[in-house]
Symmetry: C2
Subunit: 500 residues, 2 copies
């Protein structure tokens, strides 16, 4: 199999944005729609990753008492205007339906950029008493935000996501929910995506339009930039007031509900790519890999071919019975195994599956059959295994589940190390400017005086933003200090970085 | 719990369409969005049914070699016009986006009413050789068709569905695919929805706009009307030619691909309601029920309450380990069990869960505890069990899986009997007119001369349409005859009915 000229993966060191595009293309995850501005087609290998993300998050939402529902794609334009900050934040990004059924519409609809407003409208119909609370809903849906600069998965005009929407009787309960979900997101990112994150709170400049406070998980990408990978919002009573969502509390008084909303999107796939992929292509952690193992048969003649293919098929079947999930999981995560029996050289097959990020490759030839062994190689070298290993077949089958899970952990450790290497604690403005002057960004823990003016000035000077004010245990936790820009007092360090 | 005046379910015999609305509302499946014309909100109990439908169909699509992908929501308006019949069929129903990002668009987009055109565009980029074929894709998505008269689930402006899109090297292979999927749909309807269907081919008047031929499954509703519950289209080379999807065949010649498309939607939930529900509310077959069992504790004082609730909780946990799925299924279909410990009279709880269609109710009181038994009642009487039964707890747990599956089969038999009772074979036009003159429709097997003129004349006179030309074994198969309307020769009987 010849490699077409445009199939090259640009090395990260040469051109990082181009590397990202090349990896996405060569792994066959998605492509720009082009004929629909800023949209993408999510191809089967990319969509299968999204399905695994959905499956796991959905079962965690269920386990925490949430139920799925579906609300209309279209929202009356006037709904957006009911919450002042919300409309200001989203108005520039709306796609508007003005005609339908061959007629102009009396009131235009917008395609949902998010669903707080339409869901607020229904909450006001459904909620009348504290007995109706908490109301814990989630929706898996497409949304649309008209973006000028788009990038596959990271920022597209249409994207897929889940949006949780909950209503509570007290602010305390709403805050519990906001943080519960933040930790669901953080734990998912680390345990399933093998992507370490910093959990924190957004500044006033960076919070969701219409929220009291926004919480987030921020992930480290290989170019040192941060990716906001999930958000959980304390909406206070803002939407309750805008949509008149009132309830009678236990004391018999009428009060507005306290709401939350939270979401993660197909953007996570971009984060997965930029956390793990290398110059040879995609690298996938086993828990989210659509294909876990590829078996490449090695033979020189038809007799060997028949013999090897028969053994390879037996091996494939045996591997398909291996289940990565825990015994009480709702889904059985049986290994997905490809036996690549195409009429191609083995090297071309290695290359094909490496680019697609398959965690484990198994080579099987006549010598292996004679010795009752398989030759295994993981997609990247880690302490679990470096290079090729030759393992008796029985032992391989007995240990492959543990090996894959150990490989999953090793990828997380590798990503943690990369983040640590890019993380600095800075107290001097000149150091700060120097740290962000190159192509590569860093994760900088710095003091900040808490004002939007200073935050804006830092961004203006360096393109660096405050990614979050860390939750306890998520940052250096080394007490108060002086703002890196103004020298004014600061309660504690915040995470600063360039961001996607 | 008092029953609000508007919580009444109108009996079927009194007003069938109102009965349907009442059942959907009282089962808490969905409600009209009102503020978004013709759209609905799918509430958690309704959405959970859709998720079970998705789960099963999705694994059948996978098992037959299909992969999921996602294409843009918006389609350039010009794309629709590339296939003449297609645009004629869909133009009146389109919702049009004319503005985005605060600007008028140069070319408007339509919200996909179906995705043949946008997918045809990408097929032309992805397919160049017979080696790229067959290409077997499926998409789970929302679509929008501006309808004037809408009804929850059955016909809504926005609905959720799956749309399969495949490309093949020959017409024979495409036809194999069309029929393979038709049988997946038919078997799913019968085995999972317990809804018997007739499998057949559409007439020229009723086929999909742009298809050579459309195949369908038609289900019998309790008012004798037919519901088109799923369609599978032989698109021929129509879209291949419209979007220039050409490939080099094995002989080295360029040819247009042969395509298929096929879909089922949230309409199936409407079919489920109208197949099984009764004047007491929803009835759900266990394989699609979001909740399989409800346990209602019975007690007269606090001491009994504590004792009964403890035993009820043990029973609940034991039931949650019962798995309806087969051992090799990808999903574990553990029983979903509600222990209704609300502070309400038992009668109010029975009523609540009956309306929501829960297949099995378990009552547990002090006498049952003393005897080591449970009192069980299925949602409707069938040969499996009529009325209440008192069963030793151990025996109950050992047999509940089989009982639920037997109840599933009994619902199918009950629906088959209802269909048989409404099915007639007619040869006389006056009989035909009389059969369709009442409120209730029938399934009439009649001869037809094969012309669109006659079909249109029959529809004009009686509102009856030809639902399908049955596949072998799906109709009376009693050979040729004379058209019921014109007396001209007919090759075989077709299914005629009023339809949703």
């Amino acid at each position: 199999m010849a490699t077409p000229a445009d199939a090259r993966i640009t090395p990260r060191a040469e051109d990082y944005p181009q590397w990202y595009q090349d990896v996405v293309r060569e792994a066959d995850l998605a492509e720009p729609a082009k004929v629909v501005k800023g949209c993408m087609v999510i191809k089967p290998h990319g969509y299968a990753i999204w399905e695994k993300i959905q499956r796991e998050l959905d079962s965690q939402f269920r386990a925490t008492g949430h139920r799925n529902a579906y609300f209309p794609l279209l929202v009356p334009q006037s709904f957006l205007q009911k919450e002042a900050e919300h409309v200001e934040g989203f108005a520039p990004e709306l796609a508007v339906v003005t005609h339908a059924g061959g007629q102009p519409l009396e009131e235009p609809y917008v395609i949902r950029p998010t669903s707080e407003t339409i869901i607020g409208h229904f909450f006001s119909k459904w909620i009348s008493s504290y007995r109706d609370l908490p109301l814990l809903l989630n929706q898996w849906a497409n949304v649309m935000r008209w973006e000028l600069r788009t990038r596959l998965f990271l920022r597209t005009t249409e994207f897929l996501w889940q949006e949780g929407h909950t209503a509570h009787a007290t602010h305390d309960e709403a805050m519990e929910e906001v943080l519960r979900i933040l930790h669901v997101y953080g734990d998912f990112a680390e345990s399933f995506m093998a992507m370490p994150v910093v959990r924190g709170r957004k500044t006033a400049l960076e919070k969701f339009a219409g929220a009291l406070e926004s919480y987030c998980i921020e992930a480290h990408m290989q170019d040192g930039k941060a990716l906001q990978a999930g958000t959980s919002h304390d909406l206070g009573q803002n939407f309750g007031k805008a949509f008149d969502v009132r309830f009678q509390n236990e004391a018999g008084d009428l009060d507005y509900v306290w709401q939350t909303s939270w979401g993660v999107s197909t953007r996570l796939i971009g984060g997965l790519v930029m956390t793990h992929a290398d110059d040879d292509g995609l690298v996938l952690p086993p828990r989210l890999a659509p294909i876990h193992c590829v078996i490449v048969p090695i033979y020189r003649n038809d007799e060997q071919k028949a013999q090897v293919l028969e053994a390879a098929e037996r091996l494939r079947k045996a591997l398909c019975d291996v289940d990565l999930s825990s015994p009480d999981a709702r889904y059985r995560d049986f290994l997905e195994v490809v036996l690549d029996d195409r009429d191609l050289r083995p090297g071309a097959k290695f290359y094909h599956w490496e680019r697609r990020g398959v965690p484990l490759r198994i080579e099987l030839g006549p010598k292996d059959l004679a010795k009752g062994q398989v030759c295994t190689k993981f997609r990247v070298d880690t302490p679990v295994q470096s290079g090729k290993a030759f393992v008796p077949t029985d032992e391989f089958l007995a240990t492959v589940r543990d090996k894959l899970l150990a490989f999953q952990d090793a990828l997380l450790e590798r990503a943690r190390a990369a983040q640590a290497a890019d993380t600095v604690v800075l107290d001097d403005w000149d150091d700060f400017v120097a740290s962000f002057s190159g192509e590569k960004s860093v994760f900088a823990w710095c003091h900040w005086d808490g004002t939007s003016e200073t935050e804006a000035a830092i961004k203006e000077a360096t393109k660096v933003t405050i990614r979050c004010i860390p939750l306890p245990g998520q940052g250096p936790d080394d007490g108060p200090g002086r703002c890196i820009r103004t020298g004014r007092p600061s309660a504690g360090r915040v995470l600063m970085a360039k961001a996607y």
